[in-house]
């Protein structure tokens, strides 16, 4: 009998770059056997803007607004990483007041990032309601950012050596009020999702990643912690005075999508804990370290990594002694975490692909840079 195309068991399917659930412009080439995924290949680069190359012909201060555009839902964290890297290169440290404010803003940004993740991830899975609620709370954070530094998304909140803007009147009260409002809302999201049978069925035992695989792929952030590895750079290599704050590192057990959801929910609560401690002890003093107007770091190279909402965000800055960096290499968490996609998706169903991409919490601005 003549063979027809119907006999073929393998099917190659293109997912993205225009797929709404790939969180941007990720293209995944799926190799399918019926409904089963037997292989994936990621095609990235649709959002490549050459940020690392741009850094080579900008001065150190000029480059700070560009790093906000890497992971645009967590712009403050990106700015912190870059500023810390250049500060280490210059061998200066931000004053204590600036450090505390930095911690507050980055933790607020972590909550904002996780809220975007929760809303969009739930939307991918089919629960539309959480999106409206998470964005409602995110709006409060955006308002704080807007009042503090004048921008909502690409904030450009930090400068090399400290902060540009002094706190506005009522900042502490507003942040405290946000913490009080926010904690019951997290319970509300949990009420919507945690025990919901559809949510549990879609997420439990989907995209399992063992601790060994996580380490092998270099996966960091909530994805790593959901696999049971207690690794958080805020504890392991404290920066910006994180050693002064009390907080726990939430971990999961199975390393499936449901655990990653639970870890991120717990992280939001821990962030509120850190913010409350930090707001209570904002020291007085200057907000900017003493730096010359023209920043000319000595020849050398430095690697600084911070715990961004999505994982380890590292900056490798090489200085040749001029006013412009010789090279800035960004180690984006999303890019590294995306490697594990194939491992997680293999053997699963096509419908699970959306869940797995969502649970990795990737931002394509960061993957492509």
């Amino acid at each position: 009998m003549e063979s027809t195309f119907l006999d073929s068991t393998e099917l190659v399917l293109n997912m993205g770059p225009q797929h709404p659930s790939t969180h941007g412009v990720l293209r995944v080439i799926l190799k399918l056997d019926g409904e089963k995924v037997i292989g994936t290949e990621c095609v990235i680069g649709y959002l490549h803007r050459g940020v690392e190359k741009i850094s080579e012909n900008r001065t150190y201060q000029m480059f700070t607004p560009y790093v906000d555009r890497l992971d645009y839902v967590a712009a403050v964290s990106n700015g912190l990483g870059y500023c810390l890297a250049v500060e280490k290169l210059l061998n200066v440290e931000a004053p204590p007041r600036a450090q505390t404010v930095r911690v507050i803003l980055t933790e607020l940004n972590r909550i904002a990032s996780h809220l975007v993740w929760l809303g969009t991830h739930a939307l991918d899975v089919g629960a539309i309601t959480p999106l409206f609620y998470t964005f409602r709370e995110r709006e409060l954070i955006m308002n704080i950012f807007e009042k503090y530094c004048g921008a909502r998304l690409t904030t450009h909140a930090f400068r090399i050596g400290g902060l540009q803007y002094e706190l506005y009147d009522g900042f502490e009260e507003e942040v405290k009020q946000f913490c009080d409002v926010f904690l019951p809302k997290v319970d509300e999201y949990e009420q919507l999702l945690t025990e919901n049978r559809i949510w549990v069925a879609r997420l439990k035992n989907v995209g399992i990643l063992s601790a060994e695989d996580c380490k092998a792929y270099g996966v960091t952030g909530p994805v790593l912690r959901a696999s049971g590895v207690k690794w958080d750079l805020r504890k392991a290599k404290p920066y910006s005075g994180y050693e002064q704050y009390e907080f726990d590192i939430p971990t999961g057990e199975n390393g499936d999508s449901y655990d990653r959801y639970m870890v991120r929910m717990a992280e939001m609560r821990q962030s509120v804990r850190i913010i409350r401690q930090a707001v209570a002890r904002i020291p007085e003093g200057p907000i900017m370290a003493k730096l010359p107007k023209v920043i000319k770091p000595p020849v050398g190279e430095v690697y600084v990594s911070i715990e961004a909402p999505k994982g380890e965000l590292g900056y490798f800055v090489v200085s040749d002694g001029s006013t412009q960096p010789y090279r800035v290499r960004v180690r984006p968490p999303s890019f590294v975490n995306l490697q594990a996609l194939d491992k997680m998706a293999r053997g699963g169903l096509v419908a699970d692909m959306v869940v797995i991409i969502g649970t990795l919490d990737i931002v394509l601005g960061e993957v492509d840079r």
Partner: protein
């Protein structure tokens, strides 16, 4: 047993619905009806650039020092000046600001030594042409004039 009963009586779904219905109260509506209801942006908002003038004399505050142009990462500010032979001071002739490439980072504002260049609370910067996004000195001093709608 408890779990079984919760499953049978759809408790998990009803709990979620409870949250949804609690949010139906008009007090909990937080959507902004944008063109009808205009948002009040923060005082420090970085929006449309403005070149400040002295309100009494109408003269520009800009001293044509070119620091904003040097601070701009996108190099979108062009300042030109000429020397006034009588007062022996630099005077501003033209000031061009390309808002189409601006990312509103605020570095120009920080660099300005006399608070002449400022990013204001105006956020409606749309124009019908690409040329319209390049603002000259007059436009920078007067600010954008967005269409006002009546409802």
């Amino acid at each position: 047993m408890r779990k079984f009963l919760r499953t049978v009586f759809l408790i998990d779904l009803l709990e979620g619905l409870l949250v949804t219905f609690r949010s139906q109260h008009p007090r909990n509506i937080c959507t902004e009806q944008y063109p009808a209801q205009r948002p009040k942006v923060a005082e420090r908002y970085r929006g449309a650039p403005r070149l400040n003038i002295n309100p009494e004399t109408g003269e520009t505050l800009c001293i044509a020092c070119n620091l904003c142009a040097l601070a701009c990462p996108e190099a979108l500010i062009v300042v030109s000046s000429e020397r006034n032979e009588q007062t022996r001071r630099k005077e501003l002739t033209t000031f061009t600001y390309d808002t189409s490439r601006c990312m509103f980072c605020g570095l120009c504002e920080d660099a300005c030594p006399v608070d002449a260049l400022e990013l204001t609370q105006d956020f409606e910067l749309a124009s019908y042409s690409r040329e319209g996004a390049i603002w000259d000195r007059q436009m920078l001093e007067e600010g954008p004039k967005p269409t006002q709608y009546k409802f």
